[in-house]
């Protein structure tokens, strides 16, 4: 092993690590605000990559129809709930329309745009729009009515959502994988290490997103409201922050991060309908390293997971996953030994 191999492995590890960092952040975010351990985070990655792949073939992705269906269901639920609360028909209808609006617009736009074969960037934007719209709907349908249940119940729901989304993925995208075209084909040589445009985009987008998230939570009222919900749900509600809205916007952000991650890795690997799970799980390992609470620790943990994976594949490729997932054990041990653990909720 010489310096050039180390360089290539580092680059490979950091590139994957950047994706894991994004997913780790999303996992921490969702857990902090809603106490949901969001296992299906990876599914958004696969949905993102594959929806773009289907747009590329000029067809309407199955995810668009799923989005419409889920939006209709969620909107019916909202109508019913508002009606039961207020017995005011216009108000109930309005609540339903609000839920339906964004997904319906996204679907209509997709159906209109799909056969027109727009440039890659436009399709990518459309994909982000479609997949992001899934976030609030998933929360509305699967979690909202259970928002006060224990973490364990929410975890079990997550497992169910994961299986449902993977199964639907198989239905929509088929068993074979896709590889998306690169957003930027440029290559830069730094000695033995070749930096591709896609590497730079992955690094850049990850950094930018992390920066944006930080800005959002530190400097906007909305972000502070989410943080308040994360710290104390009841207290936040007493201050007039709707925990349902907080949950839905958190899931929208998680879906957005997932969709972007999907677009980022789509050109570097072949994505299958079930690829998301393992990617999401590695993001989860990163989030656990951060104690499911700290964003910077999760990001650093993710880079660590990426590097371990890369070097692990080099030294003992048959045991790569074993190495990555066994790593979580000493970390959990260390975290529980080092105390500082507060009983939540």
């Amino acid at each position: 092993m010489d310096i050039s191999i180390v360089g290539i492995l580092m680059l490979d590890g950091m590139t994957n690590g950047a994706i894991y960092a994004l997913l780790g952040l999303a996992t921490v975010l969702v857990f902090a605000v809603t106490r949901v351990i969001f296992i299906p985070q990876g599914e958004f990655v696969a949905y993102g990559a594959l929806t773009l792949a289907i747009f590329q073939t000029g067809q309407i992705p199955g995810t668009v129809w799923l989005l419409l269906l889920m939006a209709v269901l969620a909107s019916l639920l909202d109508v019913r709930q508002t009606w039961l609360h207020t017995h005011n028909a216009p108000k109930a209808l309005k609540a339903g329309m609000v839920t339906l609006l964004v997904p319906a617009v996204m679907s209509a736009l997709s159906i209109w745009a799909a056969p027109r074969q727009f440039p890659l960037l436009v399709q990518a934007l459309l994909t982000v729009g479609v997949v992001t719209s899934f976030g609030p709907l998933v929360y509305r349908l699967a979690y909202q009515s259970l928002a006060d249940a224990s973490s364990l119940v929410l975890l079990i729901v997550s497992v169910g959502v994961h299986f449902a989304m993977t199964g639907l993925g198989l239905l929509f995208f088929g068993a074979e994988g896709f590889r998306n075209p690169s957003f930027w084909d440029e290559r830069f040589s730094l000695g033995a290490v070749t930096l591709t445009g896609q590497n730079l985009i992955i690094g850049g987008v990850s950094l930018a997103l992390i920066g944006l998230l930080w800005q959002f939570f530190e400097h906007t009222l909305y972000g502070k409201a989410l943080r308040a919900t994360a710290v104390n749900r009841l207290g936040a509600r007493l201050m007039g922050i709707s925990s349902h809205t907080a949950g839905q916007s958190t899931f929208a952000m998680a879906a957005l991060i997932g969709a972007l991650s999907g677009l980022l890795i789509g050109p570097t690997t072949t994505v299958f309908y079930d690829s998301g799970f393992l990617i999401g799980l590695k993001g989860f390992v990163a989030a656990v390293i951060g104690g499911l609470a700290s964003y910077p620790a999760a990001a650093i943990g993710a880079l660590f997971v990426g590097l371990v994976e890369s070097f692990g594949s080099f030294w003992a490729s048959s045991f790569k996953e074993v190495i990555v997932f066994t790593m979580i054990l000493p970390i959990l041990l260390w975290r529980s030994m080092s105390g500082g653990h507060s009983e939540e909720h």
């Binding site: 994706i19 068993a175 890795i265 690997t269 072949t270 594949s313 490729s317 048959s318």
Partner: protein
């Protein structure tokens, strides 16, 4: 699931009604739903094209859906032997389903024609015969070409699952006989986001050729990673990668790859000297006439071959016993083991008492990817 099963059973019953008191009963378990439905549905399509008589005897075919679930496969097999009193069991196309079905077949002393390369422990496959080729037979064809090209060292990059491992084992054994050495072996999983590290290590070992063991579109990513790391040698792929998904995902990077394949799907391109050429062409023509141009696939081919085999063994067994009896089932097995060299669409089979895999080394064909299409090497 249940409704589908009932529907299929009813459909078959209606079809069979014309042939009341059918003489030969065939029970087929296929994954018509579930993850392996992409394999089971084409096989079922071919079954619909089967003749209604074999050697003058009427045939009753029962197709049941196993939903890619081993439990359902076993249930179907049990129903075949107890309720339907079948003379022969066929299926499943999914290996995990076919394996436990073999137990039922052996217990009931009924021949099972598995449409998947089910690996069974020694002594457990007394009544099970496989329609697909074994990896060893495919490795034989591959190593034949490697020898011709003067390849001495090979790097292995394969799935970290049963498919990868069995290829490594069979390939290494065959290679050593021919003076070819496997100098490095690396593994990856289909869902991996990157195989850069493995590719680095393999390219550093600088073998004459690289063998990639993966399936369908999953075979493109490792191939591209090896090319990306500047590997200039020959790259070989296995028969699981012999589908157009390899070119669809791999594009220019897989140009020049050598892929081993069964003969059925490339019927027209086979050299005239290949024994299967005629059979393969008639399979492809029959199937594509019914289901459209380009619809050919290896799984329908297994169903086609199963009927060819039936047409050979049934007359042999009829001489000894009447259908529906234990003696007839035993006679079918004896016929399978003594039928000798038989040409089918997927190659040349020759099952014997000790070899229930059957394919002879003349089966495999080497293809090269040229301009995004297959060319026979």
């Amino acid at each position: 699931m249940k409704t589908i099963k009932t529907l299929i059973a009813t459909a078959v019953a209606v079809l069979a009604a014309g042939a009341a008191q059918a003489d030969i009963t065939i029970g087929v378990s296929l994954p018509l739903t579930g993850p392996a439905s992409g394999l089971g549905i084409p096989a079922n399509n071919q079954i619909k094209l089967w003749p209604t008589t074999i050697a003058g005897e009427k045939v009753r075919v029962i197709v049941l859906d196993d939903a890619t679930d081993p439990t359902n496969g076993v249930k179907n097999a049990k129903r075949f032997v107890t309720d339907e009193k079948v003379d022969i069991i066929m299926g499943s196309v999914a290996t995990p389903v076919a394996i436990p079905m073999a137990g039922v077949a052996a217990e009931a002393e009924t021949v099972q024609l598995s449409f998947s390369p089910a690996v069974l422990p020694a002594g457990k496959d007394g009544w099970t015969f496989r329609m697909p080729q074994s990896n060893a037979v495919m490795a034989h064809a591959m190593i034949g070409l490697m020898k011709k090209q003067g390849v001495k060292t090979v790097g292995f990059l394969g799935y970290t699952d049963a498919y990868g491992e069995s290829w490594l084992k069979d390939f290494t054994a065959e290679a050593e006989k021919n003076g070819i050495k496997v100098v490095a072996a690396e593994r990856f999983a289909r869902s991996d986001t990157s195989v850069t590290a493995q590719a680095l290590k393999l390219v550093a070992a600088n073998p004459d050729a690289m063998l990639i063991v993966a399936s369908g579109s999953g075979a493109a990513m490792p191939h591209m990673a090896v090319v990306e790391r500047g590997y200039k040698g020959k790259i070989y792929q296995t028969h699981a990668a012999a589908s157009r998904d390899l070119m669809r995902v791999g594009g220019k990077a897989v140009e020049g790859a050598y892929v081993v394949s069964g003969p059925a799907v490339i019927a027209e391109q086979l050299p005239d000297s290949h024994p299967s050429k005629k059979v393969a062409i008639s399979f492809v023509q029959q199937y594509e006439k019914a289901y459209g141009v380009g619809s050919r696939n290896q799984f329908a081919g297994h169903a086609y071959d199963a009927m060819l085999v039936m047409e050979k063994i049934v007359p042999m067994a009829l001489k000894k016993a009447k259908p529906g009896t234990k003696e007839f089932r035993a006679a079918l097995r004896d016929a399978m083991e003594t039928m000798g060299r038989t040409v089918v669409a997927h190659g040349v089979v020759n099952w014997t008492k000790d070899d229930h895999w059957g394919y002879t080394p003349e089966t495999g064909v080497m293809l090269k990817v040229v301009n995004g299409d297959w060319k026979v090497e």
